[in-house]
């Protein structure tokens, strides 16, 4: 199982949780509720999961609020990624190519 890096990008206006997968960064806004963006990230995670099981590891040295949020979020997400990978495996849906991935 692969381990991908996850980081917290703190700006003046907003803070994002970054999931880095194979050179692509997927961002979740931690300061504002944007469920459509979250779903978009989930879709990409799901497509990635079809190619193989992985998990995220948070790399951050500031123990602030965003660190706690991200730490908990990644912990829960990792458990869910594992569960969904098993589901994809059970239903023989791994390595399925889709033609119109969301940009």
């Amino acid at each position: 199982m692969e381990t991908h890096k996850s980081t917290i990008k703190r700006d003046d206006t907003q803070t994002n949780l970054i999931f880095s997968i194979n050179g692509n960064d997927l961002e979740i806004n931690l300061t504002e509720d944007k469920p459509i963006e979250v779903k978009s990230v989930f879709n990409k995670l799901l497509l990635q999961l079809k190619k193989g099981e992985f998990k995220f590891e948070l790399e951050d040295d500031k123990e602030d609020l965003f660190f706690h949020i991200s730490s908990e979020y990644i912990s829960q997400l990792n458990a869910e990624l594992s569960s969904i990978y098993k589901e994809l495996e059970d239903y023989d849906l791994l390595e399925i190519e889709t033609t119109d991935e969301e940009e």
């Binding site: 497509l47 969904i84 991935e101």
Partner: protein, 715 residues
């Protein structure tokens, strides 16, 4: 049943071919390959009692052997051949006479005048068959007349023709005629026998044949009595409901003929009703009333099909589920910020570590349990089937049955144990997750602080999409399946080949376009195509944010309310094919095939109105007449109203019903070709000549009567 009244079994004369010699074994072997049931051994100026007896004994179970001789007649320097066939009962005396006549003579130098022939043989109850006209050397008319004048029964004198055509001509001119093989080479006999005359009535003895020759009505009835006869009283006419028609129906061919407008069709319909009322299902076949297109429902008015017939899933549940699916929400990030922004101050709450536990993977555990539950269900179903099938115990026996039971029980115990383990696992996980949830909720309530999120929502969100993908995959997989065309034989179009009816079925996949195809179910073509097209587009958006927009589009396809399963996407096209290509049969070809199929059906009663309509003489003679004769041979009741002599004469009917109309009303006559008369049912009119009225009333009568001669051998 074929007859051969002119058979050689020995080379007797110098000019005879060696290939005429045959022994009893070979004779028997050849005859068994033919349909010849009566043979008269008529060697040249010779009769071999020993050979006759051997052949008769050897082949007694397959054919009748009659004793005879082919004599060289010398009458006023005229040489001719005359066949004399004796009643087999008199064979010993016949033999004695032949030997006496031939004493000191050879087959080559023997000859005998007509008077001496009659004086010598007439006492043996003989039939005389004179070589005539084209059959050389022949007796001239004067000699035949002399023979007729000398014999005790002039009906016993027949004229031998060379073949069926000549015999037909003689008979149509009032000469009693028959012909035989005059076999030259026994190796050819099987082929030759195919052209020998047919004896319509299955005579079982020489005497019966002679009675047929007599055309005595009682004799004919005696033979006809072998067939079942049913007297039926009908009131067929709406215009005159009191007019009664009584007819006999034999389990053979029954022909109704007469001029147009004499009520033949009404009689057929009344007969049909009569038999249907008795529970003998039948219908009147009328070629004009139906077309091949209707018979095979080419427009598909009554056509229906379901994918289950082709082992294709109709995906009803999947389509329903996709249509009804909705997006799952994800956990908002603000719920995380709220929770972590406020420090948990409650000391007890802080001690409850359970709130920090990560929920366990419940869906995987649930699938594990469902898997074993399904296996257990299969095994239980198997047990149920075995228990309900009493034949299994009967066939495999008690010991094997018990052994099977023991093994199955062991399997059940194992599966139950595994099932129990998995359900415990599932329930534990479920309980654990619920506890986390309850604690998180309660802590939030008691402390007044925000609730801790226990899931990002990814698993629920992803599971929902995975379900849609699975369902869609199944639907599209089934949509892409090919259904093999259903091809059924329609009939034979002779040299053109065999006509088939082909039903093509396709599932609309969004790309299929063909104006010939029609929907099988109530959904119309455009909604079918649009629905399938959008369904395919849904697949492209499975893991895109536009998925639910596409699903909404699917639900809103105009006219797709009737599309609930893949059955509703079925399209069909039915057509005829000939040699693998689409073909539209002509009216004549349709009639051919319809009548042929009517006769191919295995029924007790065939009631056919004017089968000749739209059909050529060749087809009637070569295909229909043999089929009708076959029905008669198997004892079916075939009742045909016809104007066609090919059918009325060449089918050799046991019963001819003639309808006549004159100024005083309608009359029904019944008779048959053997008696050659037609008797009025109510005796108000005298007998009619069957042949005369058949020839007069039926189309193609004269030609058919030429043929009739070879069949009856007598007129």
């Amino acid at each position: 049943m074929k007859i051969d009244i002119h058979v050689h079994t020995k080379k007797c004369k110098g000019g005879d071919a060696e290939s005429r010699n045959i022994d009893a074994d070979k004779f028997d072997e050849i005859i068994r390959l033919t349909d010849v049931k009566v043979l008269a051994i008529t060697n040249h100026n010779h009769f071999d009692l020993e050979q006759y007896t051997k052949i008769k004994v050897k082949s007694d179970d397959v054919c009748q052997i009659w004793p005879g001789i082919e004599l060289d007649i010398l009458e006023e320097d005229r040489r001719a051949h005359l066949i004399v066939i004796a009643n087999p009962k008199n064979v010993l005396e016949f033999n004695k006479t032949v030997q006496e006549l031939l004493t000191g003579k050879t087959a080559d130098n023997f000859n005998i005048p007509i008077k001496e022939t009659v004086d010598s043989f007439d006492k043996f109850d003989c039939i005389y068959i004179a070589h005539y006209y084209g059959k050389k050397p022949n007796l001239i008319d004067e000699d035949v007349d002399k023979l007729i004048g000398l014999v005790s029964n002039q009906k016993r004198v027949l004229k031998e023709a060379t073949n069926s055509i000549s015999a037909g001509i003689y008979i149509s001119h009032g000469h009693n005629s028959i012909y035989g093989s005059d076999v030259q080479n026994w190796n050819d006999y099987q082929q030759i026998s195919k052209n020998l005359p047919d004896l319509r009535l299955p005579v079982q003895s020489f005497d019966q044949f002679c009675l047929l020759l007599e055309k005595d009505i009682s004799t004919i009835n005696t033979v006809l009595d072998w067939k079942l006869k049913q007297k039926i009283e009908l009131f067929p006419f709406q215009s005159n409901p009191l007019e009664k028609v009584e007819i006999n129906v034999y389990n053979d061919i029954n022909i109704i003929f007469g001029s147009k407008g004499t009520g033949k069709s009404d009689i057929l319909h009344a007969l049909s009703k009569h038999y249907n009322d008795l529970g003998i299902k039948n219908k009147v076949y009328q070629s004009s009333a139906q077309t091949l297109e209707n018979s095979y429902d080419l427009k598909g008015n009554y056509f229906d099909a379901n994918l289950s017939e082709f082992e294709i899933d109709d995906c009803f549940q999947e389509i329903k589920s996709i249509r009804n699916s909705s997006e799952k929400n994800v956990t908002s990030l603000s719920s995380y910020s709220k929770y972590f922004a406020i420090e948990q101050t409650n000391k007890i709450a802080k001690k409850l570590k359970i709130q920090n536990f990560t929920p366990l993977d419940e869906p995987t555990s649930e699938r594990d349990f469902e898997e074993i539950a399904l296996s257990l269900e299969y095994v239980n179903e198997f047990i149920k089937n075995v228990e309900s099938d009493e034949h299994i115990l009967e066939i495999i026996g008690e010991d094997l049955y018990q052994e099977l039971n023991k093994i199955i029980q062991k399997i059940v115990i194992k599966l139950k144990a595994e099932s129990e383990k998995r359900i415990i696992n599932l329930r534990s996980i479920s309980l654990f997750n619920q506890i986390i949830n309850v604690f998180v909720e309660e802590i939030a309530k008691k402390t007044g602080l925000p609730q801790k999120p226990i899931s990002t929502g990814f698993s629920v969100y992803a599971s929902n999409r995975i379900r849609i993908e699975r369902e869609l995959k199944k639907v599209l997989n089934n949509i892409s399946k090919t259904i093999q065309p259903y091809i059924e034989s329609v009939g034979n179009l002779g040299e053109k080949g065999e006509l088939f009816c082909q039903t093509n079925l396709v599932i609309q996949d969004g790309n299929f376009k063909n104006v010939d195809y029609k929907p099988v179910k109530s959904a119309t073509k455009n909604p079918q195509r649009n629905f399938a097209t959008v369904l395919k587009q849904v697949e492209k958006h499975l893991y895109a944010s536009g998925l639910y927009e596409k699903i909404t589009e699917l639900k809103e396809v105009e006219g797709s309310d009737n599309i609930n399963s893949l059955n509703d996407l079925l399209l069909f096209h039915r057509h005829f094919t000939l040699n693998g290509l689409k073909y539209a049969p002509s009216t004549g070809e349709s009639s051919m095939v319809l009548l042929h199929n009517e006769l191919l059906e295995d029924k007790e009663i065939y009631i056919i109105d004017e089968p000749e309509k739209s059909l050529g003489n060749d087809y009637i003679s070569n295909v229909i007449v043999p089929m009708l004769k076959e029905k008669a041979q198997t004892g079916k009741r075939v009742i045909i109203a016809t104007h066609d002599a090919n059918i009325a004469v060449r089918t050799l009917p046991y019963n001819s019903i003639y309808r006549e109309h004159d100024i005083n009303g309608y009359y029904t006559y019944q008779g048959n070709p053997f008696a050659n008369n037609l008797v009025c049912n109510d005796d108000t009119k005298g007998d009619l000549d069957w042949k005369e009225f058949s020839m007069k009333t039926l189309e193609g009568g004269k030609e058919a009567f030429g043929e009739r001669g070879k069949i009856y051998g007598n007129t």
